[in-house]
Amino acid sequence: MLRICYFLIQSIAAISTIFLVEFCLARQPDDLDPRAVRLLANHCVDCHSGNEPAAGLGLDQFRSVQSIRQSNDVWEKAWRRVEEGSMPPPEEGSLANDDRQFLSRWIDETLHKIDCSQGPSPGHVTIRRLTRSEYRNSVRDLLGVDHLPAASFPGDDSGYGFDNIGDVLSLPPVLMEKYLDAAEAICRQVIQTPEDFQPPVMAVDMANAKLEGGVNRSNGLVFYSNGTAVVEFDIQTAGTYDLVVTVSGQQAGDQPCRFTLGLDKVKPRSLEIAEHEVPKPFTQSQRLKVGKHRFTVTFDNDFYIENGPEGKKDRNLLLHHARMVGPTEFGSQVSDAHRQFFFVYPSKSDQEADAAKRLFRVWSSRFYRRPSSEPEVEALLRIYSGVRAEGGSFEFGMQIALQAMMVSPKFLYKVERPAPADGSPRPLTNYELATNLSYFIWGTTPDATLLETATKKDLQDPEILRNEARRLLTSPKAEALVDGFFSQWLQLRALENQTRDPNLFPGVDLLLLSDMRRETQLYCWEIVRRDRSVLDLLTADFTYVNDRLAKHYGDVGEIKSDAAEFVRVTLPRSRRGGLLTQGSILTVTSNPSRTSPVRRGRWIMENLLGTPPPPAAPDVMPLESQKLVGTLRQRMEQHRSDPNCAACHQMMDPLGFALESFDAVGRWRDSDNGEPIDATGELPSGEVFHGVAELQKILVEQKREAFLRCLTQKMLIYALGRGLRYEDQCAVNDIVKRLQANDHRVSELVLGIVESVPFRQRQKMVDEAGMLEPVPMTK
């Protein structure tokens, strides 16, 4: 029993926080705990001292808490080794169990103790690049085009379980290349230019042509003798059009085929085609109003000899097809996105520069998420003028300047002014706060309303901030939280990487896996949308399934709907209900060929309880390799009898066993390999449960605070775009209290985060100056 679970440490630490704080405050700087000093002296410094300490870790040079904290890299390692039991080595005389626990806890507290009496501290956030999805959403909301090429950007790496961490997001050259290509493609899609303009083409339907002397064949209208075709068509937009009719002639006699082409009431033109059976286009240009129009083709020099000297001679005309091309004027039929972009349009050339300036002022402010400065507008104007000077159109000049906005670091990064060098906290500006708020809840750039609030009111005012946050959270756009936060927290994104043994799990394909993901997303979205208790995430009695998924589960009733469409179903209490019973999570925590109670247990510890177990010691034999017999459970119990494994597995395994009633793809089962399923378990703290429902009950009752704390931490990481540090515990404490006092509503969690000090303020990172570097809180 040498290893101690984080869980135990944390629970002890939580209970005694108040005492510790007082204890620590009372401690003199040079006063290290005598028992700890004695243990270090007796068990560690023999090797870890002098000029060449073992493993480079000298533990003999420390006289004060502060000196230990300054060398935290050394002590972090020492702490980990003591905690996992690998140091001191057994041959050095083993450390008694309570001594080990004491020493481990003492190092932990010395390194990490926090004092919340001064209130939460703001922390530092490294400048964050927009993620792939933030980029795509922002472009969609700014310009009204949904740009799929963003999917070709390289994947964003994640840290702390999320892909929006500033420290981790990088910008390799290949991404810059793709930003340039994307900007070009997007700008061409939004801004239409005379350079690129191609008038729309519409085929004219000739099926209802009024014919005199001609016949309607599959290849067009055929005139074997003189005749006329009158074809009607509709025009939706007024402008100049080219009517293009394609005809061919079968030549005979001494004249070429001759016909007239008329459009509306204009006098028909007489035309000739000399080629034999070669289709040729003829064009008539004309201004047309909106409404019905018609054109006329008349064949007027038919020729026919049945039995001439050279046999049969027959001159015929074929009208193959007709198209309307137009309006041919640029600008008569622009897209909505184009119209929306050019809220001013110069009607004369001497107004162009002014219009361009106004457009730049507004658009750069939208792209940079704050009012742009005059020099910034001037710089864009210079790019525009450069294009214009070499003969590019007004629109093309705007297109190039818009590209520059889109690859500017001011758009691609969430830029924040640095905090004061003296380490004092700085409140975010209104615009910085608006940006963070919008990307947190909506995963996209602030809308006009939010920017207006930022301009006119003080977003640091708690009430104004709360109102804006509420507005965002109650909008349908808040569904971005589901894909951004919930999917990452619950590791749903890993579903698409799952492979399953097709012999064991036929029919489990990408479609089904994406159904599973969708189920959990819709479930989370309902809890957000209805502002339900976050505890419902674990226990709610409903879910969403489509026909395919319902058939896969087999125990959620029949779905009478389109195969792909999801419907909400109420679940019988007995089996399913809550995240832990959903296929997504049950699958993502399984191995390709079987369930893994250990992985499921670890998943619960990491993602629901916030107490990730340390990795197994490298020399520990995994389950399969030991000579164990019996059912999976029996083999695991034997494995757990090894004291090296026991401490953590005592927690992980029972948690995982509770889910054994579900197979590796989330289906209910009563037996595994012929053995009946035993879904009972007992936690180290004494709680006994039978099956998943009882486990869920324990999670939302006895373990409620741990769950609330874990969820808060995870969402705070996502909201801030950085890992948490020990001092963030103070902010987490406040948010958890707020949740507890308000029925655990989702909105209280989100608002609690938004109003927290780390969300609203920034502080210069002290470790840059070589001072204390606090360690990340989660391991």
């Binding site: 080794r81 400048i127 390289p154 379980g161 690859v407 640095p418 390709p592 990491e606």
Partner: protein, 449 residues
């Protein structure tokens, strides 16, 4: 189904032909351009291929040394015995825990080409080291249109913790431009194709291209001054991020300039269709990515490439070869014969795909020999036995003729603890990039020639 087929000649004409020729012939047709290169023969191409989860070593290491080594089951799948230098006994010290505990898979990938010991962090203060491919790309990347190519099969973006407190940055990137900037890899062969051949959607005429580049230069000038202004106003951590941005801008600019410089005439390479995206089947996917590497080398679009068969600790199952269990799970075999045989099957499967790569390279004539003669390919893993997670006695094989700078067809056993990075010193030497030291190297790797 949309199937776009681009005739190579058309592409080259249409794009202003930035593709270089298969070597030699092109140089001969423009003799004045670079006589130094001409005199020294076809250029050396270097590739690194990473296999996750270690190797079943009994099926990898030949028992005999020297010229008379026998092909082990895995090496037999790679084939090309006479183009093979099996290098046993190499060690990657950076991947060892050094007091950081678990996370050997993340460390193995991060350290494989850097030799560094990556800082254990889930995000804050990412710190590794520059990788050998990027060191090379920095020195010789300007000679080709793309300085280097980074390829893989699994996206960098993953959910959750990647490996025992290590950020996913470490588990999914072998290529690192600097200690803090990984180089993201491409996994969609069609996007690689677009990068190689410049344009997927709208082929540009040389004039259009020149005009576009001119506009891009002015856009990049502007954003560069934006970034410089920001840079001055930010703190050190933020500056490091902006440095990445500025580097990327300069790199793209440089490449546009190079594109003008490296213009060439038409070249007859076999027509190759633009891939339709990522195939469902793993082996087809890998083959297409390797095809892209072949094309890149063949057209001398780059001389440096990396390829990851999968990310660190990958637990995919291989239904193609009827291995239903996850690779990582299997690799913790605990000497169980069934599991070891599963690992061996996967090792052989990966090796067969490597054989495909070599076969393609060897089918392309270049100068007096084949493209494979002018390649050096490091194939292997930074974990030896997946069960023990040890980082010594690594499974490493060097493939290809290296422009005659290696004597292949041998198995060399080095003293244990010989740094893997010594091999990188030797590679850099052969790329005419002399370095005294790379990471923890103790000198060049003896006996390759």
């Amino acid at each position: 189904m949309h199937h776009r087929r681009i005739e190579r000649r058309t592409v080259l004409r249409g794009l202003g032909a930035t593709l270089a020729l298969p070597w030699l012939e092109s140089m001969l047709s423009v003799p004045a351009r670079n006589s130094a290169v001409l005199a020294s023969g076809p250029p050396l191409r270097v590739a690194f291929m990473y296999v996750p989860n270690g190797m079943h070593m009994p099926a990898w290491t030949p028992t005999a040394e020297g010229r008379d080594f026998e092909l082990s089951p895995v090496l037999n799948e790679i084939g090309f015995r006479e183009q093979m230098l099996v290098l046993s006994g190499l060690t990657l010290d950076g991947a060892r825990p050094h007091g950081d505990g678990g996370g050997d898979h993340a460390r193995a990938v991060a350290s494989f080409l850097t030799g560094a010991h990556p800082k254990k962090t889930d995000g804050a203060n990412i710190l590794n080291g520059p990788s050998v491919d990027q060191v090379a790309a920095e020195k010789i990347g300007h000679l080709t249109r793309l300085p280097s190519l980074e390829l893989g099969t699994e996206s960098s973006s993953q959910a959750g913790n990647c490996d025992s407190g290590y950020s996913c940055v470490y588990t999914s990137n072998v290529s690192w431009r600097t200690a803090t900037s990984p180089v993201a890899k491409e996994m969609d062969p069609s996007l690689v194709f677009d990068r190689l051949f410049s344009q997927a959607t709208a082929p540009l005429t040389p004039d259009q291209r020149a005009q576009r580049d001119k506009h891009r230069h002015s856009i990049l000038d502007l954003v560069q001054s934006d970034a410089n202004a920001l840079h001055r106003a930010l703190g050190a951590n933020d500056r490091r991020k902006l440095d990445e941005y500025l580097y990327a801008v300069r790199d793209v600019e440089q490449r546009m300039r190079n594109a003008d410089k490296l213009q060439n005439q038409d070249v007859d390479t076999a027509d190759f269709s633009r891939p339709d995206g990522v195939p469902r089947e793993y082996d087809k996917h890998v083959q297409l990515m390797l095809d892209m590497m072949v094309l890149a080398f063949q057209t001398d679009s780059t001389r440096i490439a990396t390829f990851m068969y999968a990310n660190a600790g990958s637990n995919r199952s291989y239904r193609e070869i009827e291995v239903g269990d996850g690779h990582h799970d299997l690799s913790h075999h605990g000497k169980n014969a069934d599991k070891q045989s599963g690992v061996q099957k996967i090792n052989m499967f990966h090796a067969r795909l490597c054989h495909y790569f070599l076969r393609r390279l060897s089918a392309i004539r270049e100068g007096d020999g084949t493209l494979l003669d002018n390649c050096l390919i490091v194939y292997g893993s930074a974990i030896s036995d997946g069960d023990r997670h040890n980082h010594d006695d690594l499974p490493i094989v060097l493939l290809g003729g290296g422009c005659g700078t290696v004597t292949s067809g041998r198995h060399i056993r080095y003293p244990n603890e010989t740094p893997l990075t010594n091999l990188y010193v030797s590679l850099l030497e052969r790329l005419k990039i002399p370095v005294d030291k790379f990471s923890d190297s103790t000198g060049p790797l003896a006996g390759l020639s």
